[in-house]
Subunit: 221 residues, 2 copies
DNA sequence: AATATAATTTAGGACAACCTAAATATTTTC
DNA sequence: GAAAATATTTAGGTTGTCCTAAATTATATT
């Protein structure tokens, strides 16, 4: 399996997980490739039995395709955590590195890194790491922007794509495991007043969309 | 700079260092590519001012080409040592991994690994690691097969290409830094009787060709 | 020095992954 | 439900890296 195909499969998996339906255009945008090129590649992936593809209807991974996608995602997330722990790479940088390393990691090194880390369950952004058999545990979680005040929540995962966002969250002390209190929401722009430790902060909807939380508990103010 | 070009430049550097003249065929053999394809690529590299190329006359790196080659080699050797030290990867496996990782290592990670290792001077096989400016310190050394008995020598470097050879040398306890005594050479096949610690072993010419030594001291038996 | 052998290059082509522009299908809007 | 807007596919083309077979040049042999 080469880099290009791995990237397509991983992207399809990711869009499916976050957006639902996987369209040609969505893939094209993420991979920064013209839609016409994506169509061609989807036909090839279908021929290889890695996706189910019907013209104009979007695309779905077959179990073979999903298997490969999960392997790449496992690589990605193990590498992210390894870089963070072994080399102290800040959490806003690990994603970009892992994007490249994931494609050159042998099974042998995957195992060694996994052992070195003690078979971790999540990466530095809180995303679950699939096991060797491609089994992934996705605990139920909602976007912070969906939570209604007044509630207490625990951060489960944050989006890893934008380094700036991650540096901002780091400054706010928002990490997986951090407990937050949603104080109130401004209806106009859906910005959110949130208590983080002792601080009260206002987070824009752009930010609250990128934070997934669990253990939502309604509080009576 | 992409993978392919980096591999060509690195290979040219390597052939120059070990064999002297760099021919089309030699490159083709190492890269497992047809000679005709190499000719085409050499023209391209010449257009890019990375090599000096004259038909039928072989090829030489320009300083720009050498710079890139040394960067890749630095990556390669840092990665080899890092894998060996951080993840305990045995020395016969690190080369194959590094062949892939060297092309995806960012400057930032290169620096972090270098710092983690304490700016090492040599890789697990004894090969010198170029510094960030592309300066490489090649101490004078000769192949073990060139040494005349009776001499004491110190192993400087061993070939890293063949995992089987490395496992064999490991079993014999021959590592960079190991001291050896050349007892005698059989003229027929140039096999060599060598003292390693307490043991006396006979090494074939195939093996003694792959071991470079320094500090050759004649002994009067 | 002529010839045989080996190395190298030229010519022409394959293939993967991308592109743009034009055509067609689907979805949205009125 | 027709028209407009959007999404998708088709057609044709480009680029990079490789290939084989044939032609050429260099080297070795007698």
């Amino acid at each position: 399996m080469n880099r290009v195909i791995e990237d397509y499969l991983k992207t399809i998996y990711d869009i499916h997980a976050t957006e639902g339906k996987v369209t040609t255009t969505a893939i094209a945008q993420r991979l920064k490739i013209a839609p016409a090129s994506v169509t061609g590649m989807l036909k090839k992936l279908a021929r290889m039995n890695l996706v189910q593809y019907e013209k104009y209807q979007g695309v779905r991974l077959t179990s073979a395709g999903e298997q490969i996608a999960l392997e790449v995602i496992r690589h990605h997330r193990l590498i992210e955590l390894f870089l963070a722990q072994a080399l102290n790479v800040p959490w806003d940088q690990v994603h970009e590195e892992a994007e490249k390393w994931e494609h050159v990691l042998s099974e042998e090194m995957e195992d060694r890194i996994d052992r070195w880390l003690g078979s971790p369950k999540t990466d530095p952004h809180g995303a679950p790491i699939p096991d060797k058999n491609g089994h992934i545990e996705e605990p139920p979680k909602v976007r912070l922007c969906e939570v209604v005040p007044v509630s207490r929540v625990v951060v489960a995962e944050v989006s890893d794509h934008d380094p700036e966002l991650l540096r901002y969250l780091g400054k706010l002390n928002v990490y997986p495991g951090t407990s937050l209190e949603v104080v109130q929401v401004e209806p106009f722009d859906r910005s959110m007043e949130v208590r983080i430790g002792e601080q009260i902060r206002v987070l824009s909807a752009l930010v609250t969309r990128c934070i997934w939380v669990t253990d939502v508990q309604a509080l009576d103010a």
